[in-house]
């Protein structure tokens, strides 16, 4: 998600551009909170299997850390590839 779309809105007065920019900021905040929720859900689901205690054991904690780091790296890589495709910069196979 970027602000390139603002280019289409030149007919709007300054005040509306500010409003549009604020709307985009808010969507980005919502987006990152959702990402955070999804990340927690995924790593919990994949890493926590037993409920004999109410605290995470070492193994579960390690698993969650790796899962979260891997998800973030994955997400950044997807973002880069996605941006390339959006710019029509597809490379040969």
């Amino acid at each position: 998600m970027d602000k390139s779309m603002l280019g289409d809105l030149d007919s709007l007065p300054e005040e509306d551009k500010i409003r549009m920019s604020a709307m985009i900021d808010q969507l980005q905040i919502r987006d990152s909170l959702r990402m955070y929720n999804s990340l927690v859900e995924r790593c919990f689901t994949d890493c926590v299997e037993t409920f004999r205690r109410k605290t995470l054991d070492k193994q579960e904690e390690t698993c969650v850390r790796r899962c979260a780091e891997k998800f973030l790296k994955h997400s950044m890589r997807v973002g880069m590839r996605f941006a390339e495709l959006n710019q029509g910069a597809a490379t040969p196979d």
Partner: protein, 84 residues
């Protein structure tokens, strides 16, 4: 228009918007937690409509561990504010 009378309309919109996103986040967290712990703890044959003892203690521990994972991921993301 009068700057001395508290926040402008645009600032108000942003305060309202932030509060709304924050609440949406909490609701979504609660919903995911509820769904995930149902998946992990509840017997799906539905032989009775009560929660049995095993399910009850599983739910308590599941919520507790989910909370810990939320905090752990929050730390990793470097967020300073408490995620809940």
């Amino acid at each position: 228009m009068a700057a001395k009378n508290g926040p402008t309309n645009l600032e108000k919109e942003q305060i309202f918007g932030m509060a709304e996103k924050e609440m949406e986040y909490r609701v979504e967290l609660f919903n995911k937690l509820t769904q995930t712990c149902f998946e992990k703890c509840i017997e799906k044959r539905y032989k009775e409509s009560e929660l049995n003892m095993g399910e009850n203690s599983c739910i308590d521990r599941c919520v507790s561990k989910y909370w810990q994972v939320t905090n752990l991921v929050g730390q990793l993301l470097g967020s300073n504010r408490p995620p809940m």
